[in-house]
Symmetry: C2
């Protein structure tokens, strides 16, 4: 067996498989000549679709869960954790949900991009160790919910994969919206960079019936007249993105919960990977208040405030991910989303 066996009952899956959805088609001018098949004339290129792998239990809950990775990540985010335990893919299957783990357009298995890109192997993992709040390299945070074995860190670094085309918030939110068109009403889990396009997907598609956002990044949408002042951190400047009020109001019609983990400084820090999250958490609170002011139902859970300590940027794969899943299940249950 590949991983340490966990004594769990078997997963029972009525149906599993994969498909692509959404995207566009380029067509080269001219006409195709089968005797010159390597010239592009008259040929097509299908790209910018989303890839999904799905599993459906025998008697699933009403709503499936769509799990959308963050920056540099892919479906693996929700699969086996870096230290070899079950991730949210399995945990929510065991809790009776159909799951759709996706690779967004231009990432991972959805690699065919209609826009050219150059991929360079730039060493950057000590940055990610900090940005993902495992610690400040080479030191792990005290009490961090992250296994300190060497192979865990190896798996963690290798669960990244590059963009195969420019990141485009509209292309990726279109992909997820197309997925909801195909599967119907469901719940959206987002992580980090997917937070922002997640709001757009819910604006675009009323089949998004609720959102669980883990550590949304720097992209928050506000009504045009209510965009707050940018927040300056030692990493970057976080600016709200204006959208028409009619679009914004879509976000007031569904329950949303946002989780942030631990080790986010309350005051400005000269460590950029620390300060980045101070600013994001602050912007998230402004966003929550704005949505709720317009009649929305956003809950922001800063985990240490409810006594859950040590979480990184990946609460769903941290050592206490069952406890995090319980928080999510409570939200789903409270909002009749299960």
């Amino acid at each position: 067996m590949a991983q340490d066996a966990q004594k769990q009952p078997p997963l029972v899956i009525q149906e599993q498989g994969s498909f692509t959805v959404g995207g566009t088609v380029l067509t080269a001018p001219g006409s195709f000549d089968p005797k010159k098949p390597l010239t592009p004339d008259g040929q097509t290129f299908h790209g910018d679709h989303l890839y999904a792998f799905y599993q459906i239990p025998p008697t699933p809950h009403r709503y499936p869960i769509v799990m959308w990775h963050g920056a540099g990540q892919f479906s693996k985010t929700w699969e086996t954790t870096p230290d070899g335990r079950e991730g949210f893919q399995n945990i929510f299957l065991r809790r009776g949900f159909s799951t759709y783990v996706v690779d967004q357009p231009r990432r991972g298995n959805a690699g065919r991009s209609t826009v050219e890109a150059t991929l360079k192997p730039t060493p950057d993992e000590q940055f990610w160790f900090g940005q993902f709040r495992v610690g400040v390299w080479p030191k792990y945070f005290d009490g961090v919910q992250f296994d300190r074995g060497a192979e865990t860190l190896n798996q963690y670094f290798r669960q990244m994969t590059p963009n195969t085309g420019p990141f485009d918030i509209n292309v990726v939110s279109d992909g997820v919206s197309a997925l909801f068109d195909k599967i119907g009403p469901g719940i959206l889990f987002t992580h980090s960079q997917a937070g922002g396009p997640g709001w757009l997907a819910a604006i675009k598609n009323p089949d998004v019936k609720g959102i669980v956002a883990f550590e949304p990044g720097s992209s928050f949408v506000f009504p045009e007249a209510e965009v707050p002042s940018p927040i300056v951190t030692s990493f970057d400047t976080i600016a709200g993105a204006p959208v028409p009020m009619t679009d914004f109001m879509a976000l007031t019609r569904i329950p949303i919960i946002i989780f942030y983990g631990d080790s986010i400084p309350a005051k400005p820090s000269d460590i950029p990977t620390q300060d980045a999250w101070r600013g994001r958490l602050e912007m998230a609170r402004l966003w929550r208040d704005t949505v709720n002011k317009h009649g929305g139902d956003v809950t922001l859970v800063h985990l240490p405030e409810i006594g859950i300590h040590g979480n990184t940027h990946f609460p769903f794969s941290d050592l206490n991910n069952i406890e995090i899943a319980d928080q999510v299940s409570k939200f789903l249950d409270d909002n009749k989303l299960d």
Copy 2:
């Protein structure tokens, strides 16, 4: 439900998950400064690993099956077929095997490459329609085992994904060998471009206990003194690759079966996507004869010769893929690999 429901009993899975294996690490000179996290100094880059998603039934057969995609493809090759039926991932799970579907290094979810690459969206799908022997664009072959619906072709084209670094036969065969080091003895299924590195993986790792090769491409290894004359086609020239006799002999110690589909011309054709396969089949026969001359056990099945007609370059996902799976099961059974 995402796909047309097929009335099948549920899949029962004792354990499923994913991991990466193999690969290398680059380290930039200098030392990491947490206050300048976006400069590469002293940072690392883990790349060139293989990604695997695995499923283990409650009482699996002795040997797991590793399924390795071909050129431009990824794990999807073995998952849901373009027309929405079950692929070999599910079929062999149902037959009691543990399955490992992989993305080779520098492809799909194993995207982090230690060598730079530029990805261009070059229209090429009418070429692939021919090269994968669905037909000669825009005409499907008469009797082809491929659904003619528009959405099937859409899914088929979108199940491609680019190399994220240069294709390197040693890097990818090292990745698969590392997988066998991790999981122990097993069976290797290869498709197309994976055929050649598949022979290398078996040379590198005695835990490869048998190979089922679907339409291996142009890369066949021969003893240095026995490399046949290159075969010239209107697509390319196919040359055997020399390896030391001691390496070659590893391939005589395991059972190997090779399948080729239909629509391969017996005589030279001026349609390059047709003629390419005449040459590959001819080289595969020379290779079979050479391995067997040295005491090996290679069976080459040209499917039309046993009365199975209409197969494309993807027999394992063609409309008759259950019939193909039965041929594979017979091979596994005959060779005590199940």
